[in-house]
C-alpha cells in the first residue's frame, strides 16, 4: 500500500503567484499587529503575576457555588473556568495590591473559603518581581533567537538568504502572536517556548529549500532566476510536506491526548508548523527574487573554494 501525496514532478507556481502570497501575508501581519494593539494578549500569571489554582471538586458542576463563595472575598476579578472535565476547575486570581505578602494571604483566604473536600491539584503564585523578569527573559529569548538564526544563515549562505529567512520567520512569529490575540488563549511561558520552537522549525524548513536554491544556482548557470527558484521550491516540496505531516501527526496526538496543561502549547505548535511550511515555500523563496541574489558571487565563491 503506497500513497502519493504529490505528483511525481510538482510544478506549482509559487514564484509567479508571489504577489498573491505577499498580499495575503501582509494582510495577516497587519491584522496580527492590529489585534495585538487592540485586543492584546491574554497573558498568563507567568507574566502578569497573580495566582492560579486548579482544583478537583468532589462532585461535578460546582462552579457556580464556588464562584459565589470566592466573590465574597474581595480579591478583584476572579475567573473560574472548567478545565477539561466538569469537576476540574481552574481559578485565576489577579495579582493583589501589596505584592508578595498579599498574594500569599489571598491563597489562604481562598483555601479557607472553599473548605474541605477539595483536591488542590496545582497552585501557582507568581509575584510581581518574578513575572516581570519572566516576561523580559521571554522577549530576549525570542529576539535573540531571531538574531542568532539570522547570523547563522548569513554565514552559511548569503546575506540575502538570511534576510529572506528572517522575514519569513518574523512573519511566523508575528502571526502566531496574532492568532493568540484573536482567540485569547493564554499566553504564558510555555507559549513563548512554543514560539521559539516555531522559529526553529520554520527556519529548518526554510533552510532546506534555500539549500536547494544554492545548489541549483551552481548547477543551472543560465536559467532565469524566477524559474530556478520555483523549481527549487517544487523539488523540495515533497520533503517539506512530508516532514510537516509527520510533525503535525505527533502534535495532533499531543493536542488531543497530552492533557489540558499542554494543550495551548500544542495548539501554538500546530499553527506554527502550518504557517511555517507556508512561509518557507510561498514567502522565503519568492522573496529571494527581490533581494537580488547574485549568481556571480556564487560562482566566485565556488572558484575561490576550489582554489583554496
Amino acid at each position: 500500500m503506497r500513497i502519493k501525496l504529490l505528483p511525481e514532478h510538482p510544478n506549482f507556481g509559487f514564484v509567479s503567484k508571489r504577489m498573491i502570497f505577499f498580499a495575503f501575508s501582509a494582510l495577516l501581519v497587519a491584522a496580527s499587529i492590529g489585534l495585538f494593539f487592540t485586543k492584546g494578549l491574554s497573558y498568563g500569571i507567568d507574566f502578569t503575576g497573580g495566582i492560579m489554582i486548579e482544583v478537583r471538586t468532589p462532585a461535578p458542576n460546582q462552579i457556580g457555588e464556588m464562584r459565589s463563595k470566592l466573590n465574597q472575598l474581595d480579591l478583584g476579578s476572579i475567573e473560574l473556568q472548567e478545565f477539561g472535565a466538569p469537576d476540574d476547575i481552574l481559578i485565576r486570581i489577579p495579582a493583589q495590591e501589596g505584592g508578595e505578602k498579599a498574594n500569599q494571604a489571598a491563597v489562604n483566604a481562598v483555601k479557607v473559603a472553599l473548605g474541605d473536600g477539595i483536591e488542590y491539584r496545582r497552585t501557582e503564585l507568581v509575584g510581581p518581581k518574578v513575572s516581570d523578569e519572566l516576561f523580559w527573559n521571554g522577549m530576549y529569548a525570542v529576539v535573540s533567537a531571531i538574531l542568532a538564526i539570522l547570523v547563522y544563515i548569513w554565514f552559511r549562505f548569503e546575506w540575502q538568504f538570511g534576510l529572506g529567512a528572517v522575514i519569513a520567520l518574523s512573519h511566523d512569529v508575528i502571526t502566531t502572536i496574532g492568532v493568540f490575540s484573536l482567540i485569547q488563549h493564554e499566553f504564558n511561558l510555555a507559549t513563548v517556548a512554543a514560539v521559539l520552537t516555531i522559529a526553529g522549525y520554520s527556519i529548518n524548513d526554510t533552510v532546506v529549500v534555500f539549500d536547494r536554491v544554492r545548489e541549483n544556482l551552481r548547477k543551472y548557470k543560465t536559467k532565469p532566476m524566477d524559474e530556478l527558484l520555483n523549481q527549487s521550491a517544487n523539488e523540495t516540496l515533497s520533503r517539506t510536506v512530508m516532514t510537516s505531516l509527520t510533525t503535525l501527526l505527533a502534535l495532533i496526538a499531543l493536542y488531543f491526548l497530552g492533557g489540558e496543561i499542554i494543550r495551548d502549547f500544542a495548539f501554538a505548535m500546530i499553527w506554527g508548523v502550518v504557517i511555517g511550511t507556508y512561509s518557507s515555500v510561498c514567502l522565503a523563496v519568492p522573496l529571494l527574487l527581490h533581494m537580488g541574489v547574485q549568481r556571480r558571487t556564487m560562482e566566485e565563491e565556488e572558484t575561490a573554494e576550489q582554489q583554496s
Binding site: 503506497r2 527573559n137 511561558l189 501527526l249 499531543l254
Partner: protein
Amino acid sequence: MLKIETWKLAVVGILCALGFAFAAPNLLNSDTAGALPDFLPKSQINLGLDLQGGSHLLLEVEVGVVVKERLESLVDAIRTELRKERILYGGLGASATGVNVTIKNAAEAEKAYDIIRKLDVGFETNLGDSGHIVMNLTEQALKERRVAAVEQSIEIVRRRVDPQGIKEPTITRQGDDRILLQVPGEDDPEKLKKLLGQTAKLTFHLLDDKGSLADAMAGRVPPGSMLLPSVDEYDSLGKPRMYLLKKRVAVSGDTLVSASLGFDQGNRPAVNFRLDAVGGKKFADITRQNLGKPFAIVLDKKVISAPTIQGIIPGGSGQITSGSFTTESAKELSLLLSAGALPAPLTVLEERSVGPGLGADSVEAGKIASIVGLVLVVAFMIIYYGRLGVFANIALAMNMVLIVALLSAFGATLTLPGIAGIVLTIGMAVDANVLVFERIREELRTGRGVMSAVDAGYKRAFGTIMDANITTLIAAALLFAFGSGPVQGFAVTLAFGIMSSMFTAIWVTRILVSIWLRRTRPTTLIV
C-alpha cells in the same frame, strides 16, 4: 556505500548498546534499579515536580535588612563611644549605605574621627569640614555581607527543612540574593512557608524602667530604647500590649546551642533552651545584676514574655513560657530556634505546587500522547516509504531509546513540557530520513543505479540535514539560556532529541540500508 568501515560499524554499535544500557534502568522500579551493582548504569530519569508532585518556592533574602541592622548597631556604637568620651555631637543617623554624624566642637573632630574609624571594618570613613564625619560601607563589604547572608540563609533553610522528614529537598542559590527550594512529594507549600516565614531571631533584653511607657507610646522613645509589641497579650482596646525595652541585647540567641519542647510547672507547653559557655556566663551575670527586674524574651521583634528574674540562672539553661503556646507551636519554635535565625527575612517570590494526582495524570497523558504520536508517524512512514520507512522507524525507535538514555545519564529532569519536546521530536526526527529518501528518489529518477542513488542520497542530504538541525539547536540553546524550570526541561529534551535523531537517521539507517542492499542486491528500488 555498501562497505562501511568496520570501525564505524563498531562505533555505531557501541553507542547503540550504551543507549540500551543507560535506558534500561528506567524499566525497573526505583528500588531494584538502586540495588544494581555499581559498574552498571543505574540512574533513572528524574521526574520534574510537575510530574511527580511537589512544591517549588523561589525565595528572596531581604539583604537590605542585614545592612540596615549593621548600620543601626554602628549608630549605637558611635553614640556609646562619643558619650563615654564626652564629645558633643549632632545629626547622628544611618543613611541607605552609611552613617553620618557631626562633631560640634571642631577641636574634637580629629579625636572623634579616630575613635569612630576603629569601630567597624568595611567602612570608608571621611572627615569633612566643620566636623562632619561620613562612614560609607565599601562596595566590597556590601557584597561580602550579601553573599554571607544568602549563604547563611541557605544553611538555615536546610536545617529547618531537613528535620521534616522530606525526601530529597533541593536547596540552591539563584542569582545574587535568591534561594530556590524544591521539595518533591510535598504538595502543601503552606507547611514550608510557615517554616521559613520567621527569621526566628531570639534576643533577651532588659526593660527600660526609667523611661515612661506612655511617653514612648506617644512617639517619644528615649534613645537607646525601643518599643515592641507583645505576641499574645492585649490591652483593654484589643491592641497588643507594648513594652519599652533597652535596645542593647543583653544575651543574644546566637549563643543558643539547643532548644526542645518542654513543660512548665503547670504542665503547659514550653520551650527549653540551652546556651553555650559564653552565653551561659552572660546569662548568669545579667540575672545576678538584675534580680527582681523584668527581663524580656524577644522573638522577631515581638515580646514572647517578660518574666521577672527570680534568681540567678547559672549554666545557661532556661525555659521560655507563653500563654499562647500549644504543644505544636512550642515544638515548632524549638525547631526554629535550634536551626538558628535567618540573617534576614525571606520573601516568597514565586510558588508552584502540583498535587501527586495531577502529576500522575500528566505522566499518563504524556505516555499516551507519545505512543499514539509514535504509532501514527511509524504507520505513515511505512505507508509512504515502504521498506526504507521500516528502516527509518527502527532508527526512530533507537532515537527514543537514546533520548531516554541521555536524560538518565546526564541526570536531566523530565518535565511536562519535556514530554511535549519528546513528542515533537518524534515528528521531527524522521525529517533527516525524509531528506535522504527524497534525495534517493530524485537520484533514481535521473536514471542512476540503486547503489549509486542511495550513496548520493546520503552524501548530498548531509549538508542540508546539518544546516536544518543547527538552527533548531540554536533555538533550543536560547530556550535553555533564558527559560526557567519546565521550559528548560523542554529545551533539554528538544536538544537531545535533535542530536540523537541526527545520529540515528544518518548512521543507523545507513547501516541498515547497506546491509539490506548487500544481501539482496536489488536492481530496482521503490522509494
